[in-house]
């Protein structure tokens, strides 16, 4: 167990191994590990951000939904109001129309009555003449008594 030249040979071996590891082994391993650590850290940060985004999106969608509901309610109200308005307007229109129709019908009736009366009047003179002729037993000269008859008819 004596110290000999092996000491320096082994020290040289050791020095070469240290140099080799410092130069060729450690840097690529460090680069790979650090790069992967960065990838993982980035991935985690991305996931965190995505989660946050999702929360925001959920909140926004809820807002939009609420707004849409409000709007739909408004539209329904508005529609109902409009419908009742239309119905009211239609009612008014119908009233006017019916009044107009009634007025027209009344005028028609008046005209018909007048016409019937005229007709009746003309027939009355003929009937009266026929009746009178039968009573007198002879033909009445229509021309001669026309004036009288006209006056009679006018009195009816």
């Amino acid at each position: 167990m004596n110290i000999n030249l092996t000491l320096f040979s082994q020290a040289l071996t050791f020095a070469i191994l240290i140099w080799f590891t410092v130069k060729f082994v450690w840097p690529p391993l460090l680069a790979a590990v650090e790069s992967r650590q960065k990838t993982i850290a980035d991935g985690l940060a991305d996931a965190e951000r995505a989660k946050h985004d999702l929360e925001l999106a959920a909140k926004r969608s809820a807002d939009i939904l609420r707004e849409a509901k409000e709007k739909a309610g408004e539209i329904v109200n508005h529609g109902e109001k409009r419908a009742s308005e239309i119905i009211e307007a239609a009612k008014a229109q119908a009233k006017i129309e019916s009044d107009r129709i009634i007025t027209g019908a009344k005028a028609e009736i008046d005209r018909e009555v007048f016409q019937a009366r005229e007709q009746l009047r003309s027939h009355v003179s003929a009937i009266a003449l026929a009746g009178a002729g039968k009573i007198l037993g002879r033909e009445i000269d229509a021309k001669a008594h026309n004036d009288l008859l006209e006056k009679l008819v006018a009195e009816i």
Binding site: Q10, A11, T13, I16
Partner: protein, 269 residues
């Protein structure tokens, strides 16, 4: 195992604890433990070649099982360093910690290999009389690592605080800047600087050496007969399982102390 000499417990253990020494020049110091050196270089090539291969093909996307395993190791080391060292750790300290942990772990793990089968292979295939496959049970290896860390510690101390600041700290910490306590401060710091690499290297060496010796004792028991073989195998398995903990723990402790020493060099008192 040597078959030429009679097999006694002491020759068995002594044989297994002999290094494969190659003399490069005259003198006791100028020799190399060829077994420790070759095994650690071989492990360095295999293990760090594998790490390099995985790191080169590393993708930032979904990792494969191989990459995931290396990343597990990466993040484990980086977490440990993060808790101890405050500064730009990716530039030097973390990769150094990775090197120390992986290298020491791989060398410690050689203790799991069955010693007598390895000895047979080295004797009969490679014609080597002695071969110790566990580099961290060689004080040269652990002391080389600890000394390298010690040099790094001093270098970082001087780099961060400046030479003046570092010398100032030698004299003025930990007891204060009063000139009366300067000798005590210096003595204290010297003891610390001497004890750090010693304890650092001796802890690992002691644990691995003891583990190896226990394997040898169990192996020796297996040579006594059928019952010895059976219980030796059982105990050897149990010790190997327990040794997984020691191997990992010692590699971890060695790495943590490295990080702590270098981290302390960065902090001013």
């Amino acid at each position: 195992m040597s078959t030429e000499q009679a097999l006694t417990p002491s020759s068995y253990i002594g044989h297994h604890l002999s290094f494969n020494v190659k003399q490069v020049a005259e003198g006791g110091f100028w020799s190399v433990n060829f077994d420790s050196l070759s095994v650690s270089v071989f492990l360095g090539l295999i293990v760090f070649g594998f790490l390099w291969w995985v790191a080169r093909g590393a993708t930032a996307g979904v990792p494969g099982k191989r990459q995931a395993f290396i990343e597990l190791l990466f993040e484990f080391i980086d977490d440990q360093v993060k808790g101890t060292f405050h500064g730009d750790r990716h530039k030097f300290v973390s990769p150094t910690a990775l090197t120390v942990f992986v290298f020491v772990f791989a060398m410690n793990a050689m203790d799991f290999l069955p010693i007598d089968i390895l000895a047979w292979i080295f004797h009969n295939v490679f014609r080597q009389e002695h071969f110790r496959p566990l580099p961290t049970a060689d004080i040269n290896t652990t002391f080389a690592l600890a000394l390298s860390v010690w040099i790094l510690m001093i270098a970082f101390g001087i780099k961060v605080k400046g030479l003046g600041g570092w010398i100032h700290e030698l004299f003025c910490a930990p007891f204060g800047a009063n000139p009366l306590v300067w000798p005590f401060n210096l003595l204290f710091n010297l003891v610390e600087y001497v004890s750090k690499p010693l304890s650092h290297s001796m802890r690992l060496f002691g644990n691995m050496y003891a583990g190896e010796v226990i394997f040898l004792l169990i192996g020796m028991w297996a040579a006594t007969g059928l019952a010895g073989t059976f219980f030796g195998a059982l105990l050897g398995g149990a010790w190997a399982i327990f040794h997984i903990l020691i191997v990992t723990l010692q590699a971890y402790i060695f790495m943590m102390l490295t990080v702590v020493y270098i981290g302390m060099a960065h902090e001013s008192h």
